[in-house]
């Protein structure tokens, strides 16, 4: 690992106004950023410190963590969802990793931070999946759509209060009740505006 993360952390601490909680070393470093400053932190990391690839953006639902085993929940009081941004600083010439970094962002309720789609285009699909599976919305994406589930799905499946055997309401064909005979109009392709 050729990038010194201590200087990066100092820069980010300055940006966020408070030292970030850290754990892990080397390629497994994890820093906790406030959700409101997540976008700014990503932007700084990308433009100043060479973190050019968003390897992953995912979410963890910590409701009920440690209930059976008594393990302490890492969530600050009241927070339920944790977004994890995984960044890589890749050297395009040698193909070696200068650094890997994970940013944890605790989400207030289910209103997430600003979308990272302008920095990393793959965040578009990743955020759609987070919304689909967890219901965490992104503040500048009011028209976010589902990606893995069908549009009429009710609920957010990976939440801890969604039982795995839950049933969904049955859905019919798009326009009105089922018809006996298909007509020409049903088969003409519709251009979606």
């Amino acid at each position: 690992m050729s990038l010194e993360l201590s200087s990066v952390k100092a820069d980010l601490d300055a940006f966020c106004g408070a030292p970030l909680a850290a754990r892990g070393t080397g390629f497994d470093t994890v820093w906790t950023v406030p959700a409101a400053q997540a976008h700014g932190a990503l932007e700084r990391l990308k433009s100043r410190h060479g973190f050019n690839m968003l390897a992953d953006l995912t979410c963890v639902d910590l409701q009920g963590f440690g209930k059976e085993t008594g393990a302490p929940s890492p969530a600050p009081a009241g927070a339920r969802f944790k977004l994890v941004y995984r960044l890589s600083a890749l050297d395009p010439a040698t193909g070696l990793l200068n650094a890997r970094l994970a940013l944890d962002a605790w989400v207030d309720g289910d209103a997430g931070p600003v979308s990272a789609g302008d920095l990393f285009p793959c965040a578009d699909w990743l955020e759609r999946e987070v919304w689909d599976m967890f219901g965490v919305s992104f503040s500048d994406r009011p028209d976010i759509t589902r990606i893995l589930m069908y549009p009429e799905f009710v609920g957010h499946p990976l939440r801890k209060d969604y039982p795995i055997k839950k049933r969904q309401p049955l859905i019919g064909p798009p326009d009105g009740p089922p018809r006996e005979r298909l007509t020409e109009a049903d088969l003409r392709p519709r251009i979606v505006e």
Binding site: F27, D28, V30, N52, M53, L54, A55, D56, T58, V60, D61, F65, G66, E68, T69, G70, A71, P72, V84, R86, L90, P92, T94, G95, L96, L97, R100, A102, F120, P121, C122, D124, W125, L126, M133, R146, I147, L148, M149, Y150, P157, L158, I164, P189, R190, I191, V192, E193
Partner: protein, 440 residues
């Protein structure tokens, strides 16, 4: 997608289409034969892997991982188990590490053979497809001998691998590699300098370095664009730092470069496996006499005649899970609360029996300490990452798969804009989208 002028029309390459391997829907806005816009709709093969992983004990998730990238199942098995072992702090024996590397590389070869073959078939060359599938058949036979199944292998366990390899397996694999080499040479002759194939794939589906990095694309797609990023080199795991192999890199990032990169990677994977066979530490040494057949041992054990079983030597097929003591510690870490004991102990002592049940029974089992771990391996399509969260129970709190196909597909619409309809087929085939991994 917006409606453009009246000259354009929408074509739906729907989920049921001969060229959409896996199931996926492409909505195309076409003007004549040119693609103005493309949108991919995924999720047709979503089977809730991540939800199931939260409901099943740690080892029970391994069969779910088979079904992720189902043409290279052994890589998924290894990746998941490595993530859990990182979390639990288990170090696996060296022979098990070599076995994981060998099986991963064999899986990688089958993945690339399937991709190149399917791509050739969609461009019209049925013969190359069938030749490559024959070579893949030989490799599947080898995988079957090792794990018991061709595709749904479930080979690894937390703490090691399920069972050792049979004594004749290296020779079987070497013979299969001869067939793979000759078949790849045939397919190479049919395609690489073929004017028609080159015309179809050169200059189509061009991916630039910057776009690839922006979309998080890894694997053969990124390497064909000129970035030699390979997780086995950048963040070595298992025994890859002891092995000598090259990372093939393309130049322009078009479909032809991806085809060449995959063919070169097949070669390199075979090289890795041969080095592993040379370097692998010695396996179980069983002295032929005084070995009790496994069936007899289990009979005696069930009837309660266990007096001498602890000191006996069991003669059990090395590929069977929970093997004999002589081979056990070479493929499973001797961690009492994570791995199964050898059969002599299971049948011969009460502690062994208890240990066996403590791992198998529902509600008991492996309990890694609370925490998180991320482990990245090099899958057939790029960086396959497993992010595992535990709260100390016998099952995972969260398992997240970072699917390389997802990122490749996210960038697909950029590759297709401005292409012709026929280029869609060539480009889509060379991305190697596996729906099992994309949708999980």
């Amino acid at each position: 997608m917006k409606a453009h002028e009246s000259r354009s029309y929408m074509l739906n390459m729907g989920p049921a289409h001969p060229a959409m391997h896996g199931v996926i829907r492409l909505l195309l806005m076409l003007e004549g034969e040119h693609v103005l816009d493309a949108e991919a709709e995924i999720g047709y093969l979503h089977r809730a892997f991540e939800k199931h992983a939260e409901n099943d004990p740690w080892n029970n998730v391994v069969p779910w991982t088979d079904r992720l990238n189902y043409v290279s199942p052994l890589i998924n098995n290894s990746g998941y188990c490595m993530a859990v072992e990182k979390l639990a702090g288990i170090a696996i024996p060296e022979r098990a590490q070599y076995l994981r590397v060998i099986s991963s590389e064999v899986s990688r070869i089958t993945d690339h053979l399937t991709c190149v073959g399917a791509n050739a078939m969609e461009l019209g060359s049925f013969t190359a497809f069938l030749y490559l599938l024959q070579a893949r058949e030989e490799l599947y036979r080898c995988v079957d001998r090792l794990t018991g199944a061709r595709v749904t292998t479930s080979y690894t366990r937390v703490g090691g691998v399920k069972g050792d390899m049979p004594a004749d397996w290296p020779d079987m694999v070497r013979k299969a590699f001869e067939k793979v080499r000759s078949t790849v040479k045939d397919a190479d002759g049919l395609l690489t300098k073929n004017r028609i194939f080159v015309d179809r794939t050169r200059g189509t589906g061009v991916l630039s370095k910057e776009k690839a990095l922006a979309y998080g694309i890894t694997g053969p797609m990124l390497r064909s664009a000129g970035v030699p990023y390979d997780v086995r080199r950048a963040q070595p795991y298992l025994v890859y730092d002891r092995l000598d192999f090259e990372v093939p890199v393309g130049e322009t990032g078009d479909n032809y470069d991806r085809y060449l990169v995959r063919l070169a990677e097949i070669d390199q994977s075979m090289r890795i496996v041969e080095q592993c066979f040379a370097q692998i530490p010695a396996g179980p040494i069983q002295s032929p006499d005084q070995a009790l057949p496994g069936s007899k041992m289990s009979d005696l054990g069930k009837r309660g005649m266990t007096a001498d079983l602890l000191k006996a030597k069991a003669d059990v097929d090395p590929t069977l899970e929970g093997g004999a003591r002589c081979g056990r510690d070479s493929v499973m870490a001797p961690v009492p609360d994570a791995t199964l004991p050898p059969k002599e102990e299971t049948y011969g002592s009460i502690e062994g029996l208890m240990r066996h049940f403590e791992i198998i029974m529902w509600g008991r089992g492996i309990t890694p300490p609370a925490g998180e771990a991320y482990q990245a391996v090099e899958g057939g399509n790029g960086e396959l990452g497993f992010h595992v969260v535990s709260d100390g129970r016998d099952r995972a709190w969260r398992v997240r798969v970072r699917p390389p196909c997802f990122f490749n597909m996210a960038g697909l619409h950029e590759l297709l804009k401005g292409a012709l309809v026929a280029d869609i087929i060539a480009t889509f085939g060379s991305i190697n989208m596996i729906a099992g991994e994309l949708d999980r």
